[in-house]
Symmetry: C2
Subunit: 549 residues, 2 copies
């Protein structure tokens, strides 16, 4: 017979949960000790909980199954909150194991006592504190089941439940899912798609992955429906040999133009498009007036079945999907700019790469320049809480050890969870981190204007500047055992990426660039249009009119 | 007339709140813009919210008045949670301003939408979302009043409340407090103190500061009452010319020995002593069986009045307090150990220094070696959530620009909020950060044994080790613009501290030391006794018996 911690780890393994991203403390010591008896459970130590939770997110995005985290009480969970928020918004399965004080110790309100469940409810679909060893493994099974509904599940594990002997692990219970078709809805959507109305589909979640992408492209070829990806996809499969899908723009001024004139929007495992923030005198809802919004399926597990059905009804099954073709990409020369960095990344991206993207303003041109790159998966900042790219890259690299992971991060973002580098080095992960060092919270310069601030003084400007002192990410990376190089020319960057690709461990490449939009006036926003490379030219005029009347 | 943000800042300034530790995003842009019109509000940018919240804590510990933080939505508040937890446990006033989506945007459940109030309730005594511009400045006044009750207050500020025009700032309302004496209680305590019973006082909060310390020492001189400081004091005033107060030990095995045989414990602005964690077969409550626990005052604002009263009733007013005398401190030579580092810090500490202590196991000898140092203030890890020392040092340095701040941190702790260094450099703060690099979560090695883990394998051990890869804090510090040096000899450390003392900006000194207790068996715990330098020798035997029967 095992103690609680031992039985819990066995139950996790029985359920095919094999990786634990950890940052333990005293209340988790029995779980830590039990790791030795279960070497199938890979324990990945992180130096900060936000790294552990983001890594669990990245792992699950790649494998569609949860990893667990091991966190220390309420404050540990709090430190992991932002990246759990991102996972929650991304509908990614994560299973948190949060150690708690022994059940009888709680009443003493000791120094680290806090209300863990309250914190957990912020992002969890399932939360429970296991009060007795008898309940533990059943609770674990429930938590795992819940996580498979694409939720964050948080199991709070008191120390005495962990250390009590006589607990038996549970075998997994199989949840059978039988896909169902809502014939009426499919029929209705077929009518909409066959009509002369202007129809768009917004794809999210599982819809941006194979084989769904091909089915969607067939439908588009037959009906002319315009396909969009949601603004921040969980995982988007892209590149040569896959259908190209235009992403919704972050700037709602642009996104609303993308959706202009559509009479129907069909949501395919995505949510109704809304503005990221609210802005004075601008609508938060991006659906054009009078446009009808439909939803393909309520339960994403019916998605593949529903798409096949739709394809058949539209006689699209035999149609070839419109796949991205190869094109020769010329690499730029000279001094680096954000645009040139994106161009070089796009040009040198190896087959099957994974991109964890939090390049912010510096990555505006990335969609354009990776469009005709070899097949790759793009993971984005789903919940808007910065400090995600590096942790997610850790998880992706552990999930897919044979693939190269690019973590693209702004300088401001990088400083949130830069501790990630240590874990990359420790686990010898093939992650190429590119830090866009423009010495600025660049996006906020334009947000200042977007929210209607009329006069920007020096104090306000200094709140958005990272210039003084200058950050040196190369030094910081070396301090965590990661080989690093700073580059400011195209030649330097090409060389650095090629060298990094030949290595097996992690690399940091710090690219020194001017801010791509600081100083940019809102009126000039249409230049950002370049990122939406399929957008008809006429839209540019509409935007100019809308933004700068 | 002002917009909401402008009126809010004016109201804060009217209430003498003059510093804002910030990490803003889009929803806080109007607040940021309004800073320019109010240059009396010092805005201190941080690169991570945990730095901002810890800095607000440190500032308030020094000045007994709140600073405000400026945080971005629920995830920003989540990133600041751990250090707000520490402030909450320390009973320190902090005022959080948390930007939120515009009120009408909430229903769209956009990417960054989360339940901010739920997060805030975890550590706040006061929480409110201001729904209209009309309420804003009244809410701010309420929040400030609440914070002065030594609470964390969290004001959630929707973007549209911030940007709406026509809001008027409020003048401060004066809250008069008239101290009251509970004569019956004082009378009873006088009887207890005059009796032949063994009495201890446990001091916390304001009791560990002047002028309370002297009154307490007088009482001790007259009655023989033993004075203890709570295990993790908010601010403890120490050094030559002040009464020496023995601190309660972190290890409950030792703390319960400190309290052995006492028949009365009088709590003086402190809480009933409890074990930090629970351990199998050990009591969480540290009060000996049969011991009566009293409380001097219910409201800390009566503390000074009550102590004077007690002193008078005991005829102790004319008695000289027992003040720590100067003693010659010899500085050690040779290779560094944690003990020698503490000795050198104690020996070189300048008058009026502030120590922000999170040295963990490496700081075990610090109380002993700073006992006869010049007057200084000690700030400790009140809530147990690591990553506090550096942020708190920022706040203390901004509060007291004429004093030198030492931030002492373990390596594990340092990695939590190391971004602090950038703000130290930006603000040119005189903070000397000493990182104890022992390449280990050292404390957990002993905790493994304390919680009853019998067998420790390699996987478990690796979860507590920071050896692979080795962290280089000197490189990391330089990457954030802070001059840094790594030392492994006593001579090197002395030189480095002397050089740092002569500078006006921040310095990082990385001390390379062997782990002080890793590999230490619980049976050997009494060596830690050295830290409790006033503890009678006989206790050593009791402990040995208790721990290793």
């Amino acid at each position: 017979m095992s103690n609680g911690a031992q039985a819990l780890i066995k139950t996790l393994l029985n359920n095919n949960i094999e990786v634990c991203f950890s940052n333990p403390g005293t209340s988790e010591m029995h779980f830590v000790a039990a790791l030795d008896e279960n070497p199938q459970m890979r324990a990945v130590l992180t130096l900060f909980e936000g790294v552990a939770t983001g890594a669990a997110d990245g792992y699950a995005r790649m494998l569609n199954k949860p990893a667990c985290t091991l966190l220390h009480l309420g404050c540990g969970l709090g430190n992991g909150l932002a990246n759990l928020h991102n996972a929650h918004k991304a509908k990614v399965p994560v299973l948190n194991i949060v150690g708690d004080h022994a059940t009888y110790h709680v009443k003493y309100n000791a120094q680290l006592q806090s209300d863990i469940e309250t914190i957990a409810r912020n992002f969890s679909g399932w939360v429970k504190t296991t009060k007795t060893p008898e309940e533990l493994c059943d609770d674990a099974q429930d938590a795992i089941k819940s996580s498979y509904k694409r939720e964050v599940a948080t199991l709070i594990l008191p120390a005495d439940v962990s250390w009590t002997d006589g607990v038996e692990a549970k075998e997994p219970t199989q949840d059978q899912f039988n896909p169902e078709i809502d014939e009426t809805r499919i029929h209705q959507l077929v009518q909409v798609l066959k009509s002369s109305d202007k129809v768009a589909m917004i794809l999210g979640g599982a819809a941006l992955q194979e084989p769904m992408l091909n089915l969607l492209s067939k439908i588009s070829e037959v009906t002319g429906v315009q396909l969009f990806a949601e603004v921040f996809p969980t995982k988007m499969q892209r590149g040569v040999g896959r259908p190209y899908i235009e992403r919704m723009a972050y700037f709602s001024e642009l996104a609303s133009v993308q959706l202009t004139n559509f009479e129907h929007i069909i949501l395919v495992d995505s949510r109704r498009p809304v503005s990221f923030f609210a802005y004075p005198d601008k609508s938060s809802d991006l659906v054009p007036e009078g446009c009808e919004v439909h939803q393909l399926v309520d339960d994403y597990r019916n998605l593949s079945f529903a798409l096949e059905h739709l394809c058949e009804q539209l006689n699209a099954m035999h149609i070839a999907p419109n796949l991205q073709e190869k094109s020769t990409q010329l690499l730029p020369y000279g001094k680096l700019t954000a645009k040139k960095v994106c161009q070089i990344i796009g040009g040198l991206l190896p087959e099957n790469a994974i991109i964890s993207d939090e390049a912010q303003t510096s990555g505006v041109m990335l969609p354009k320049y990776t469009r005709a790159s070899p097949k790759h998966d793009l993971l984005t900042l789903t919940g808007g809480a910065i400090g995600q790219a590096l942790p997610v890259a850790i998880g992706a690299a552990i999930a897919c050890p044979d693939r190269t992971v690019f973590a693209l991060t702004g300088d401001g973002s990088a400083m949130y969870t830069f501790q990630s580098l240590w874990t990359m080095a420790r686990e010898e992960l093939k992650v190429i981190t590119i830090v866009f060092n423009n010495a600025s919270y660049s996006i906020l310069n334009i947000e200042l204007e977007r929210v209607g601030v009329k006069k920007v003084g020096n104090v306000a400007k200094s709140q958005l500047s990272l210039e003084k002192p200058a950050l040196n990410f190369t030094d910081m990376a070396r301090g965590m055992g990661v080989s690093a190089v700073r580059v400011n020319s195209c030649g330097g960057l090409k060389k650095a990426i090629r060298k990094a690709l030949a290595l097996n461990g992690p690399t940091v490449i710090e690219v020194m660039i001017p801010s791509s939009i600081s100083g940019l006036k809102l009126k000039a926003l249409p230049v950002v249009l370049n990122s939406l490379d399929k957008m008809p030219l006429k839209f540019s005029k509409i935007i100019k009119k809308q933004i700068a009347p």
